[in-house]
Symmetry: C2
Subunit: 384 residues, 2 copies
């Protein structure tokens, strides 16, 4: 053990400087290499910038999944959202990538809103959580998912469907396992202990409904992997495929490269409902800079894009153009581009994105019924 | 600690010689005294023989409940069944008493089938448990409950209604509490740890549906009390009344007065589907006798009804007539009545009961829909 502050990555705490190579080893996942990228490209034609840039950097069972796909066995996508507050940029990263996967592979998406989880882990009432479920659904819809191919599962609303499956997972998972995976104690509430079974379930719901095995691909931020690591042994025991997973890195918080946006202890995430002024203020005031103390020094020594949060937000989310990104990086390193200029570039990018998103978010209010799963909605395009 | 074999009473193990006075103290319940009996009698006119004979012997919050009732605030009854095998006489005891309560107080009964519990605690598949749920429902219906006032809740089937309420209980119960109440370990599966929340829920479901507080009375065998002891603090925190409880003793197994019928380790319970021959064989072969080794000795010394299982079955379940029971007791004690004669008397009683029950059980097959709760069925008599 070294002296440096230990990092922690569980679904319930992300802190410290994240060593992704160590996570790959500790979690027992595979790093995405050129071979894996080429495998994906065979089906997608091009590669999403999050793949090209290593934002989605690791996987489980991906080759198995693509092999199934090549044999006309279509998979479905499963990802989710824990509704306990407003959506920030950190949430969007996985969902933007998920939408690309849906479009490229032309597959269904099952999107879970873990309102039970948030109720059980946060000091919030169910009423408050339900309000956030509604608000968060608007953000997901606003990203442009195809309602014909997208089904929202809300844990409490769909408990009739999910709980009977969850107990099958729960029966095969001990509290010892949960303790080891999530760091829980005897003082944890018994709902939080059970919860991971509910998160395991959407990966089999389409198979349960279709009464046949359908492969599943889960894009997620890597802190969510322990849920599936715990459940992985169980899927085959219940007669299902193990889900394939694509793991994303964390969008850093504004204040610097440790932890993740929105994790405990930092209050300055950028939310999808922020005004242009708020975005400007937050970036200017809080975005950690890789630049030098003075303009003169910056011109002379240049900045460090690897720790500059504005640059990282462009790399992770807002500058799709590789050539433009490379130019920004070079200019920043050389000192030609000042931190203030880089920040302004990012502010404009974010505000352009949010203007469009906020419009779509308003329109989404009328579309919720098209997304929330109901028996009658089963299958493509059918509505209750 | 004495040397004698320790008794154990939890929902998951009943063993040893039960000291009910000690349970009253350990569980913190009140013993039913003459004052309590007179309180009940004010509303019921007479007292069920199980009350007169101390078969239902303890309570929680009964006086509070009757006070509410006297002010026209009707309660509802809640009891249940863990469907993992055939129904035996031990199960019937609580339900027969519950039916009397329903009739006397003219109240609704919510009857829970804890199929999730049995799945999580037993080495049985959900298919097998579901088969027993169906079979067990027939036995409950056969006892003559009023379908207009009786609602079956099946945990997996009604999870959509129950799980969102269960997590509210679960949030306020730690694993430490569960360990202490049920003797669980870290090796318990996480579904079993969560389960007690599901058993807490039916005591509030009518209040949830009516959107107002309705008092609840739970008749149960005392081994089920720990579920509610754990949840009692939680009910008021969620804005509900604590349920009142009436506690029954255990019908002893055929082999003797330790443990309870149907608990682990004894295989000779009398089932509702037994033929007259089977009943006769089981009683004659296994029913523990309080009599003497030879007829001569019995005539001389007399038998001991307190440990004679046949006598106890008559007292607990099959001889409603107090005078007749007293006669049997006196004759057995004096040696006038032989064990074989007592057994034959019981066999006839049981077989008469079962003949009627088995007919009613056949008819019940067409009545299940009238009992299983559905939204449309809400309120008296309405059917979907």
């Amino acid at each position: 053990m070294s002296n440096k502050k230990a990092s922690k990555v569980t679904p319930y705490e992300v802190s410290g400087k994240i060593d992704y190579d160590k996570l790959v080893k500790d979690f027992g996942v595979r790093k995405i290499d050129d071979v894996a990228l080429n495998e994906i490209k065979k089906y997608t034609g091009d590669l999403h910038f999050m793949l090209r840039r290593g934002i989605f950097f690791a996987y489980r069972d991906l080759k198995w999944l693509l092999d199934k796909y090549s044999k006309k066995e279509k998979f479905f996508l499963y990802t989710g959202c824990g509704p306990s507050g407003p959506i920030h940029l950190g949430h969007l990263q996985t969902w933007i990538f998920t939408k690309w996967l849906q479009d490229k592979f032309d597959v269904e998406l099952w999107f879970q809103f873990t309102d039970d989880e948030k109720f059980l882990f946060k000091d919030k009432s169910m009423e408050e959580i339900s309000k956030w479920t509604y608000e968060n659904m608007l953000d997901v819809i606003a990203l442009g998912f195809d309602p014909k191919k997208t089904h929202f599962l809300i844990d409490t609303k769909h408990a009739g469907l999910m709980y009977p499956e969850a107990i099958k997972f729960a029966k095969k998972i001990t509290f010892s396992t949960i303790k080891a995976a999530f760091g829980f104690k005897d003082s944890n509430n018994i709902g939080s202990i059970f919860y991971t079974s509910m998160q395991a379930v959407p990966a089999v719901i389409p198979s349960v409904l279709a009464k046949k095995n359908i492969p599943c691909l889960i894009p997620l931020a890597i802190d969510q992997d322990p849920h599936f690591r715990v459940a992985r042994d169980v899927y085959p025991k219940l007669g299902y495929y193990k889900p394939a997973i694509l793991h994303g890195v964390f969008l850093p918080p504004l204040e610097g490269v440790e932890g993740k946006m929105g994790s405990t202890g930092q209050q300055t995430a950028i939310y999808t409902t922020d005004t242009p002024k708020e975005v400007e203020r937050k970036i200017k005031k809080y975005a950690f800079s890789g630049g030098q103390a003075t303009i003169e020094e910056h011109r002379e020594k240049g900045g460090n894009p690897d720790i500059d949060v504005s640059f990282l937000y462009l790399k992770y989310l807002f500058e799709e153009d590789d050539a433009k990104l490379a130019q920004l990086e070079a200019d920043y390193k050389s000192g030609k581009l000042l931190t203030g200029e880089l920040k302004q570039y990012l502010i404009d990018k974010i505000n352009k994105f949010l203007a469009k998103h906020q419009k779509a978010r308003e329109k989404a209010k009328k579309m919720i019924d098209k997304f929330v799963y109901s028996k009658g909605k089963k299958g493509k395009g059918k509505r209750k």
